[in-house]
C-alpha cells in the first residue's frame, strides 16, 4: 500500500524538481565537462577537410555556420546517420508513432467517437507519449515457470528484426542503409524470423492461451509467406533484378508496376495484412477467443516494445509495397531548386537538394497512403476464422499470384516490357 505524506504540496514538488536540476547542473559543470575535456585531450580527433575536429570548431560554428558544413556533410554521409536517423530507425519509429496516432483518430471518426482528446490539448496529440510513459512505469510481470531468457529476449528481437527490414528499403536515390543485390530476398529472409519469435515467446510464457496464439501465428505466417513471395516475384520478372533501388529505377524508366500487376498488388496487400496480424487476420491476438493470444503474458514495456515492433513492421511492409508497385520515390518535381536565395548567413541553401527532398516527400506520402489502406479493414471487418484463413492463403491467393505471374511473363515475351520493350522510355 502506497502512503502519501499528509503535508504534500505542489509547491514542494516543484521545489524538489528545481533542487534536482540545480544539482545536476553543478555536477555536470564540476565533474562532467572536465572529464570530457580530459578525454578529448588524449583521444586523437578525426580530420575533416584539412581541419581537425575540435570543440573550438563547434564554438566557432555558432558565429560562422559555413565552417560546420563539411562536418555536417561528413555526418550525413556516414553509415551511423543512415542506420540511426534516415532512412533507418528514427524515421521508421517516427512514422510508426504517427501511424498509431492516425489509426486511433481515423478509427474513432469511423466509429462516431472522438478518440484521444485531452493529452496535449490539441486533439490529444501527446496521447502516445502519455501511453509510453504509462507503459514504462508499469511493472513487468514474468509468469512463474517462464523461460526468462527468451521472455526478455523475444521483444527486443522483435523490434530488432522489424528494424532490420527498414535497412533494406530505399527511401530516396542513394538513401538506403544496405544497398545489396539480393535486397528483396533478404527482406523475405528477415520476415521469416517473425513466426519463430512469436512461437518462442509463446512457448516461453508457459501458459495455454499464448501457446495457442503462437501456434496460430505460425500457421498464419507460413500460409501467407508463399503468396507473399510469389506476388513479389512478378515484380522481379518485370524489372529483372532483386535490388530494390534498381526496381524503383526500372519503374521510373517505364511505368509503375501496379498498372501491369494489379492482382499481384492485391495479393501482396492481403498477405501483408496477414503478416502484420492486423484485422481481419488478427487471429493470433483474438481477444474474445484466446484472451490476447501470444501477447497474453506481456506487461509493461515488453508489450510496448512488441507494439512498437509491429508498427515499424507496418511501415516496412507499406514502404515495400510502395517500392515494388508504386514506383518508390518517383513523382513530379514540386520542390523548387532553391528555397531561400543563397546567402552566407544560413546553412539551409547549402545542404538543400531539391531532388532528394522531392523523393522523400513522395515516398513518405505514398507510404502513408498505403498505411491508411492497411488501417481501413479494422473499422469494417470482423475477424476471420482459422480454417477460412488457411484456405485463403494456401489456395486462393497462390492461384491469383500465379495468374499475374503469367501476365508478367506474357508482357516480357510479347516485347511490351523488359529490355528494349515498347513501354520502356
Amino acid at each position: 500500500m502506497a502512503s502519501y505524506p499528509q503535508d504534500a504540496r505542489f509547491g514542494g514538488f516543484v521545489g524538489s524538481l528545481l533542487w534536482l536540476i540545480f544539482w545536476i547542473l553543478v555536477i555536470v559543470a564540476l565533474v562532467g565537462l572536465p572529464l570530457i575535456f580530459i578525454i578529448l585531450f588524449y583521444v586523437p580527433l578525426p580530420e575533416i577537410d584539412g581541419e581537425v575536429l575540435t570543440p573550438y570548431l563547434f564554438l566557432t560554428s555558432i558565429l560562422y555556420p559555413q565552417s560546420a558544413v563539411p562536418v555536417i556533410e561528413t555526418f550525413l554521409d556516414s553509415t551511423l546517420f543512415k542506420v540511426a536517423v534516415f532512412p533507418g530507425f528514427t524515421y521508421g519509429a517516427l512514422i510508426a508513432a504517427a501511424t498509431i496516432f492516425i489509426e486511433r483518430k481515423f478509427l474513432a471518426k469511423m466509429q462516431l467517437r472522438v478518440g484521444p482528446l485531452y493529452a496535449g490539448k490539441i486533439e490529444g496529440i501527446l496521447q502516445l507519449i502519455a501511453d509510453g510513459l504509462k507503459l514504462i512505469s508499469k511493472e513487468i510481470i514474468i509468469p512463474s515457470g517462464a523461460d526468462k531468457t527468451i521472455f526478455w529476449a523475444a521483444p527486443i528481437a522483435f523490434v530488432a528484426t522489424a528494424a532490420a527490414v527498414i535497412a533494406l528499403i530505399p527511401a530516396a536515390p542513394g538513401w538506403v542503409v544496405a544497398d545489396i543485390d539480393v535486397g528483396l530476398l533478404a527482406i523475405f529472409a528477415i520476415l521469416g524470423f517473425f513466426p519463430l519469435i512469436a512461437l518462442l515467446f509463446s512457448w516461453a510464457s508457459n501458459s495455454k492461451y499464448p501457446f495457442i496464439g503462437g501456434l496460430r501465428a505460425l500457421h498464419q505466417m507460413i500460409a501467407f509467406e508463399i503468396p507473399f513471395i510469389l506476388s513479389a516475384l512478378s515484380v522481379v520478372l518485370l524489372s529483372g533484378t532483386l535490388n530494390l533501388t534498381e526496381v524503383v529505377e526500372s519503374q521510373i524508366q517505364s511505368y509503375w508496376f501496379i498498372l501491369f500487376l494489379p492482382i499481384s498488388a492485391f495479393v501482396f496487400y492481403i498477405s501483408s495484412l496477414a503478416e502484420l496480424e492486423r484485422v481481419p487476420f488478427d487471429l493470433p491476438e483474438a481477444e474474445s477467443e484466446i484472451v490476447a493470444g501470444w501477447l497474453t503474458e506481456t506487461s509493461g514495456m515488453i508489450y510496448g516494445l512488441i507494439q512498437l515492433g509491429s508498427y515499424i513492421k507496418t511501415y516496412a511492409l507499406a514502404a515495400l509495397f510502395v517500392v515494388l508497385f508504386l514506383g518508390g520515390w518517383a513523382g513530379p518535381q514540386i520542390f523548387p531548386a532553391q528555397i531561400i536565395p543563397e546567402s552566407e548567413e544560413t546553412l539551409i541553401p547549402v545542404l538543400y537538394d531539391a531532388t532528394i527532398a522531392n523523393a522523400i516527400f513522395w515516398f513518405t506520402l505514398k507510404t502513408f497512403g498505403i498505411i491508411m489502406l492497411m488501417l481501413l479493414p479494422r473499422g469494417i471487418s470482423p475477424r476471420i476464422r482459422i480454417d477460412i484463413l488457411l484456405h485463403t492463403g494456401w489456395y486462393k491467393l497462390i492461384v491469383l499470384a500465379f495468374i499475374n505471374m503469367f501476365v508478367a511473363l506474357a508482357l516480357i515475351y510479347g516485347g511490351v516490357l523488359g529490355p528494349g520493350g515498347l513501354l520502356v522510355r
Binding site: 462516431l112 484485422v279 470482423p382
Partner: protein
C-alpha cells in the same frame, strides 16, 4: 530417461496420488474460459480442445448469485421492486413487468388503460436498449470494433429517452404493481417517434456493415445448428427458439395487458444456425419499432396511470404465474402468497438460464474460434441466469 509408465510406478511407490491419464486424454487441452476471460462475462465454462475442435464443454454459472428469490421472502411486495431489477439492469422494465402482473393477479387489481400503454412503451424501449447492448457485444466478440461502438452509441439515445420517461438511466423501477410510477412527460411522443425513425435508418446500416459482411456470413452461417426438435427438447426460449423455426412469442401466445390490441408479426428464421440467432434480435427490434409506433398512436390522451393500492398490498392466500417476453425470451414469475404482505415464495424463471443449457449441446464439435460466436448468440446474460 523415464517413460510415463515408470514415472507412474515410481509415484505409486512413493505414495503420491497421481491420476493416470489415458493416451486419449493426454492429447486434450483443458481451457477454463472465464470468469476473467474477455470472452465470457461473469461466467465460466470449462472446455477441452482436441487440436482446434472443442470436444467437451461444462458450463459453470453462479459467480454472481445474489439470492434474489430468498431476498423476496423478507420484504413486502413494494420493497421488492428495486432489487428485483438488478439481475438485468439493461432490461429492468421487463423483469419488473412480469412481477407486477403476478402481484396484480394475487392482489386483484385492475391497471388503468393509459397505465397499460405506458408500461408497454417502457417495456419495448427497454428491450431495444438490451438488444442493442447485446448486439454491441456480439460485434466485439467477432472482432468487429465498429459494431461495438455503433449500437452502444445509439443505445445512449434510447437511454436518454427512458431517462425522460422514468427519471433514471438504467434501473428505472418504473413498471410497478398497479401501473407505472409516473405519467409521460410533455413532448415525449414526438421525441420517441423521432428516435424510432432514426433507429430504423440505423438498422439498415447495421445490416450493411455487419450482417451482410462476407466474413461475418462465413463465420456464422451453418455454424452450431440447433434443430427445431432439439430447441423444443432443450427448452430454449426467446430469439434462440425463434431462430430455430419456432414462431413463439409470449406477446402473441399469451397476450398480456394491451398486446392483443396491437398488430405485429412474430419474426422467426428457419435455419437455426448462428447467423439466424444473430439476425432474429435485429428483426425483433425492427418489429418493436412498429409496435412502439402503434402504442404511441393508440394511447389514450388522458386518464389515470396507476391504480390505487393499499399501503401494504396483500391478497388472499394463493399463487400466480405470469410471464412476459423479455429481451432474452420468456421471463416468468411464480409467486405464492400466504395472505401476509410478504410473499411466501418467489420463483423467477429467466430466459438466460434456459438458453445456457443449450451451450454444451451446440459447442461440442465446433472450432475454438467459433466459441464466442456460439456462446453469445445464445442471448445469455450471466447475471440474470444466476439471479
Amino acid at each position: 530417461m523415464t517413460s510415463i509408465e515408470e514415472k507412474f510406478e515410481e509415484s505409486k511407490r512413493l505414495g503420491l496420488q497421481i491420476v493416470k491419464e489415458s493416451a486419449e486424454e493426454d492429447r486434450l487441452m483443458t481451457l477454463s474460459v472465464g470468469p476473467q476471460h474477455p470472452g465470457s462475462g461473469h461466467f465460466r465454462f470449462v472446455i477441452k480442445v482436441d487440436g482446434d475442435y472443442i470436444v467437451f464443454c461444462d458450463p459453470d454459472p453462479g459467480y454472481v448469485h445474489r439470492g434474489e428469490e430468498k431476498m423476496c421472502e423478507h420484504r413486502n411486495v413494494i420493497q421488492n421492486i428495486p432489487h428485483l431489477e438488478r439481475p438485468v439492469i439493461h432490461d429492468s422494465a421487463n423483469i419488473n413487468y412480469s412481477y407486477s402482473l403476478a402481484i396484480e393477479e394475487l392482489v386483484g387489481v385492475e391497471v388503468p388503460r393509459r397505465g397499460q400503454f405506458i408500461r408497454a412503451i417502457a417495456s419495448e424501449l427497454n428491450r431495444q436498449v438490451y438488444t442493442l447492448y447485446w448486439l454491441a457485444i456480439y460485434g466485439i466478440f467477432l472482432g468487429h470494433s465498429t459494431m461495438f461502438m455503433w449500437p452502444t452509441g445509439d443505445r445512449e439515445l434510447l437511454i436518454d429517452l427512458l431517462e425522460a420517461l422514468t427519471g433514471a438511466r438504467v434501473t428505472h423501477a418504473f413498471n410497478i404493481p398497479g401501473g407505472v410510477r409516473n405519467d409521460v412527460p410533455e413532448g415525449f411522443k414526438d421525441r420517441c417517434l423521432r428516435q424510432i425513425k432514426y433507429l430504423q435508418k440505423r438498422f439498415k446500416e447495421y445490416e450493411d456493415i455487419f450482417y451482410n459482411n462476407p466474413l461475418f456470413r462465413q463465420r456464422t452461417e451453418g455454424v452450431a445448428v440447433l434443430s427445431k426438435e432439439d430447441a423444443i427438447k432443450l427448452g430454449v426460449t426467446g430469439s434462440v427458439l425463434r431462430a430455430s423455426n419456432v414462431p413463439f412469442d409470449v406477446r402473441k401466445a399469451e397476450p398480456y395487458d394491451i398486446y392483443n390490441e396491437i398488430d405485429f408479426k412474430v419474426q422467426y428464421m428457419k435455419t437455426g444456425d448462428c447467423f439466424a440467432r444473430a439476425y432474429v434480435p435485429l428483426l425483433d427490434m425492427q418489429e418493436s419499432c412498429y409496435i412502439l409506433e402503434q402504442l404511441l398512436d393508440k394511447i389514450p390522451s388522458s386518464g389515470e396511470v396507476r391504480a390505487k393500492l393499499q399501503p401494504n398490498p396483500k391478497g388472499p392466500p394463493g399463487e400466480a404465474y405470469r410471464r412476459v417476453e423479455s429481451g432474452r425470451g420468456a421471463l416468468g414469475y411464480y409467486i405464492v402468497s400466504d395472505g401476509t404482505p410478504k410473499p411466501y415464495r418467489v420463483k423467477i424463471s429467466v430466459g438466460s438460464f434456459r438458453n445456457m443449457l443449450a451451450l454444451p449441446h451446440l459447442l461440442v464439435g465446433q472450432r475454438l474460434a467459433d466459441m464466442p460466436a456460439v456462446y453469445w448468440s445464445l442471448n445469455y446474460w450471466p447475471v440474470e441466469a444466476d439471479r
